[in-house]
Each structure stands twice: as structure tokens, then as C-alpha cells.
């Protein structure tokens, strides 16, 4: 039987020195909570998860990228205020700014022991330039194509991946399509259409980009 997430967290923090592991809650009826590992120790955490004799999570079923753009989280707090001379507790909405990041989620199962899933998450620092995370391909070979796809569609670079290049989009493609702020190009209708406005937009688009061309 799979030990509970709290027990796994305790054993991880005991086995991998310096690892900071958090449990992310999940309020939906599925109840699948996940472990968040920090970037520096994610590789050691994953190695422990595979090698530990009780867990033996030798099958990485799914590797997903998720884009969390910067957002403001509103929360209701009670603040003491003097209103008309009387001190009262008033409810206010305080907005905390949560910086944006990209996240990789791994679903791990065990084929020998037939238990699971244990969900592992690794986050990048921000969405702009510090987007490196360690690659778990040396531990589970099934992440090879999936991490390439996450690099292609989200822009997360995986340190230690044997062959990191685009897999679904063509090699000269510039942007990362699955990000939330991706704007689809307005010149994708390559064949003649009766929509004059599309042709006008395409002409303007090309004159802006100059001789760069389609790619």
C-alpha cells in the first residue's frame, strides 16, 4: 500500500539533506494532493522516490507543463478600525500579488508494486528568463519526449536532458504556444480567402516584421 503523503514527505526530508518538500492541497472531490519539491533538490528527490524499497516508483506516467501567470489573490481579512468613535472589526479585501512561474507536474506510479499515484511538482523562478529546472530523464526515460514537448510549448529548459529541441512545432518557430499570453499570428491563412480584412491584416503584419518572413 502506498504510504500517506505526510509519511513520504518525512522520509524524503530525512533521506535527502536540505530538501524542502511541501504538500499542495487539492479541494476537489478527486483529492489527489501533490508534493512540491524545490529546484535544487528535485533530482535527488526523484532518485529517492524511484530507489526507495517501499515506494519503488519506477514508472513516470505523465509529465505536464502548467503556466501560472502573475495574479492577485484576494483574501478577506478583519481589520480593527475606528468608525464614528467606536473601535470595530471591519472586513476588508487585501490583494496579495503572487509572482508568475511555470510548473512541471509529474505523475508517478509503481509497476512492480502496482500503487500510486504520487504527484511531484517542480516550479521555475519566473516566466521570463530564469526558466531552468533539472531534467528527470536520466531517472525515468519516459520523460524524454514529454520534457521536449514542455520545452517546445512552454519554454521551460531542462538541465541534463540528452536532446532538448522542439518536437511538435517546426525547428525555426519562435514563440511558445501553450503560454497564456501567446497571441496567435494573424497571417496563418496561407491560402486565398474571401476575407479581405484578413489579407489586409497580413499585409500590415508583414510590413511590420520587414524581411523576416514567415518564420
Amino acid at each position: 500500500m502506498l504510504p500517506t503523503l505526510e509519511q513520504i514527505k518525512m522520509r524524503l526530508e530525512a533521506a535527502v539533506r536540505g530538501a524542502r518538500v511541501e504538500i499542495i492541497p487539492n479541494d476537489s472531490p478527486s483529492g489527489q494532493r501533490s508534493l512540491l519539491a524545490d529546484r535544487e533538490h528535485a533530482f535527488a528527490v526523484a532518485k529517492f522516490l524511484r530507489a526507495d524499497p517501499e515506494l519503488r516508483l519506477d514508472y513516470c506516467s505523465n509529465a505536464t507543463g502548467v503556466d501560472w501567470p502573475e495574479m492577485e489573490i484576494p483574501e478577506k481579512i478583519k481589520v480593527k478600525q475606528t468608525v464614528a468613535g467606536v473601535e470595530k472589526e471591519v472586513e476588508q479585501i487585501r490583494k496579495t500579488r503572487r509572482p508568475g512561474f511555470l510548473e512541471v507536474v509529474y505523475h508517478l506510479y509503481a509497476m512492480e508494486k502496482k500503487h500510486g499515484p504520487v504527484i511531484l511538482r517542480v516550479r521555475t523562478e519566473n516566466r521570463a528568463d530564469r526558466v531552468q529546472v533539472p531534467s528527470l530523464t536520466p531517472i525515468w526515460r519516459s520523460c524524454e519526449f514529454q520534457e521536449r514537448e514542455i520545452y517546445d510549448l512552454y519554454g521551460i529548459t531542462f538541465d541534463g536532458h540528452p536532446d532538448l529541441r522542439r518536437i511538435l512545432m517546426w525547428d525555426g518557430f519562435q514563440d511558445h504556444p501553450m503560454r497564456k499570453d501567446y497571441a496567435a499570428p494573424d497571417d496563418y491563412e496561407y491560402e486565398p480567402t474571401p476575407h479581405d480584412e484578413v489579407l489586409e491584416r497580413a499585409k500590415r503584419h508583414y510590413s511590420k516584421r520587414g524581411a523576416a518572413g514567415i518564420e
Binding site: S61, T64, H107, S142, E144
Partner: protein
């Protein structure tokens, strides 16, 4: 071993009759032996995951038909399972039985396609393929009578099925299930002891057990390498724990084992189908709490997976409380199974590379999404 300048680089595909879709393999050949092989795909990439972020949960259901376009009903079931986990919907018993029946019929017709295509790749130009398709037509006629379309069925809903079985469908399905073993016997008589089949598939493209588990291979390919992992038995989703399901395992992990595993799986599927058709209970078809319009699951996430005919098909959904999913991910079995294509093909002849690709059983709609 040839010198560096004598290696030949060939791009097999994307327009190639044996590559099962728009798929390209960049092979580097030394004479006829494969030295390096890189699969290239993305020609059918429609960014289904991004479309799903701007469509409602129900609106994504017809798009899931088009993922693995041979097995649309199992794709629908996997997505419905993930959403039911996310929203906590209960499926009534009759709907569960209908799901099992349609899933096993889908498995039968998918494996028919596979054995036909594999033999066609080997050179039996069309005869076994057309015999297999003759049986497949009967199953597709059943699907059309039930859902309205032969391939793009769009049948499962969150909490059950869309519409109840029409009159006489159970009789027709029982007839198809009873005639199926006769077709399998005929097929085996056609090709079982064929010397060409033996010579071309035994010992070709072996996949060792540890590499298969590490590379995340699932489905008949994994069981042909000897690993006993069938999600119908491990997760026991739906009502599969009521059926006595035997899992065939292979010894060597070569192309012949993968072919025979699929034939044996077809026989097991027929048994499950006959049992489910006999035990079908009356009752409602869909959870009464399920809503068609205005469906907003609570914020959270869920991962639901089933044993599709090609492997493990999983859907990972993150909900933000809105009618559209925040993140919608398909775990495609065909893409993950392609990870070790290079390892299997190294040192083999180029003609065998085609057969090994055929035995992996890929569908580009799923690989590229």
C-alpha cells in the same frame, strides 16, 4: 563497419504508405542496417490542449474523438472519467455496463486494424487487412446504430452516456460477439504457420523488461515484454473488477509477441463482451445531478486514466472554477511508446524498422494531438 562518409541518411516519410500517418523517421543507414533513427512528428499538431482551454468541458468531448481516431469511445471514456473524478459525479450501473461493452468493442476493432496493417506492412498486400476490416465493419455498424456516427462517436457524457441502447442492439451485438471467434480462427489458419511471418517477426525488435518499464511503455507492447500491468486490473476503474480478466503476457518482447498478444487480447475481449451483454441491468443512463450546460466543477485537479487499446490514456485536468478548464492535458500512449523506437531498431534492417513501427501501433492524431 563502414567509414563515416559511407553512411546514408534517409528520411522515411512523412508521405509514406507504411508510417501510419504523417510521421517521419530520419534513419542513418550503413548498407541496410540502421545506425541511428530519430522520429520526427508534429505534422498533425492541432494544439488540442489550447483549444480545450477556450471551450467548455462538454465542448471538448467531440475533440477527444479525434485524438486516437480509431478508438473514439475509449477516448471519450477517459475524458469523462477524469471529469467525473474532478467533479465527484457518480455513474449509474447500466451506464457502466454500456461503457464496458463499447470499450471492448473498440478494443476489438482497433486490434483488427492493427493486425491487418501489420501484415500489410510485411507484404501481404491487402488480403488479411480486408478480412480484418470485414469484421470491423460489423462493429462500426453497431456504433452507428448506437451513437449516430461510425468513428467520431461523441457518446460519453459526464456522469453516464448520452443515449440509451436502441431496440435490438443487444441482439445484434451478441451476434457479432458470437461470430468473432470464428473470424479469429480463420485468421489464424490464414497466417499462423506462415513461414514468411515467422521469419520476419520472430527475434525482431526485442524490448527488454527493464527498459520497457523505465521508458513508460504501456499497453500490449509492455505486456509482450513480460510485465504484468493492465490498468483494468490495477486501477479497477468502472466495473472491471466484476469480470474475470486474464492478462496474456509475452516471453521475448519481439514483434511476433506483440502481434500474438493482441490476438489473445481479442479473445479475452470477446469473453468480457459476452458476459457484459448478458448481465446488462436496466436503469438510468446518466447521473441525475449531471448538468449539460453551465457545468462548473470546483477548483482542483484530477488525473484519470484508462487502458485504451494502445496503452495508458490519461487526462489531467486543472479546474479554476470556470466553465473552461485551466489546464487540459492528454497523456498520449502512442507518443510515449515511441520513446524506445530507436533502441529497438538499432542494428536491424531498414525493412524491419517499418515492421517494428507497425507493431508499436501509433496513431498520429494521438502523438501530435
Amino acid at each position: 563497419m563502414a567509414a563515416e562518409g559511407e553512411l546514408l541518411e534517409v528520411a522515411m516519410g512523412p508521405q509514406h504508405p507504411s508510417t501510419h500517418g504523417v510521421f517521419r523517421m530520419d534513419v542513418v543507414l550503413d548498407g541496410e542496417r540502421v545506425v541511428k533513427l530519430k522520429p520526427v512528428f508534429g505534422y498533425l499538431h492541432r494544439n488540442h490542449e489550447k483549444i480545450a482551454e477556450s471551450t467548455t468541458y462538454l465542448g471538448s468531448m467531440p475533440y477527444t474523438d479525434r485524438l486516437d481516431y480509431f478508438c473514439s469511445l475509449t477516448n471519450n471514456w477517459a475524458y469523462a472519467l477524469a471529469v467525473e473524478k474532478l467533479a465527484g459525479l457518480q455513474v449509474p450501473e447500466r451506464a457502466e455496463y454500456i461503457r464496458v461493452i463499447t470499450a471492448e468493442l473498440t478494443r476489438l476493432q482497433n486490434h483488427c486494424c492493427l493486425i491487418g496493417f501489420l501484415l500489410q506492412d510485411m507484404g501481404a498486400l491487402g488480403t488479411p487487412l480486408m478480412y480484418a476490416f470485414r469484421e470491423r465493419e460489423k462493429i462500426l455498424d453497431l456504433f452507428e446504430a448506437l451513437t449516430g456516427a461510425r468513428m467520431m462517436c461523441n457518446y460519453m457524457r459526464f456522469g453516464g452516456c448520452r443515449v440509451d441502447l436502441p431496440e435490438g442492439w443487444v441482439q445484434e451485438a451478441k451476434q457479432v460477439a458470437d461470430e468473432f471467434p470464428r473470424f479469429l480462427d480463420e485468421f489464424e489458419r490464414l497466417l499462423r504457420e506462415n513461414e514468411i511471418l515467422m521469419a520476419r517477426t520472430q527475434g525482431i525488435g526485442t524490448l527488454p523488461k527493464e527498459l520497457a518499464v523505465n521508458a513508460g511503455v504501456t499497453g500490449p507492447m509492455l505486456r509482450a515484454s513480460g510485465v504484468n500491468y493492465d490498468i483494468r486490473k490495477v486501477d479497477r476503474y468502472g466495473i472491471y473488477d466484476r469480470f474475470d480478466l486474464k492478462v496474456p503476457l509475452g516471453d521475448h518482447g519481439d514483434v511476433f509477441d506483440r502481434y500474438m498478444i493482441r490476438v489473445l487480447e481479442m479473445r479475452e475481449s470477446v469473453k468480457i463482451l459476452q458476459r457484459a451483454l448478458n448481465d446488462l441491468p436496466p436503469g438510468p443512463i446518466i447521473d441525475p445531478k449531471a448538468k449539460l450546460r453551465g457545468f462548473r466543477p470546483k477548483p482542483g485537479e484530477a488525473y484519470g486514466r484508462i487502458e485504451a487499446p494502445k496503452g495508458e490514456l490519461g487526462f489531467y485536468l486543472i479546474s479554476g472554477g470556470s466553465p473552461n478548464p485551466y489546464r487540459y492535458r492528454v497523456r498520449p500512449p502512442s507518443l510515449i511508446n515511441l520513446t524506445i523506437l530507436e533502441d529497438m531498431c538499432l542494428g536491424q534492417l531498414v525493412a524491419d524498422a517499418v515492421i517494428i513501427l507497425g507493431s508499436v501501433d501509433i496513431v498520429l492524431g494521438e502523438v501530435d494531438r
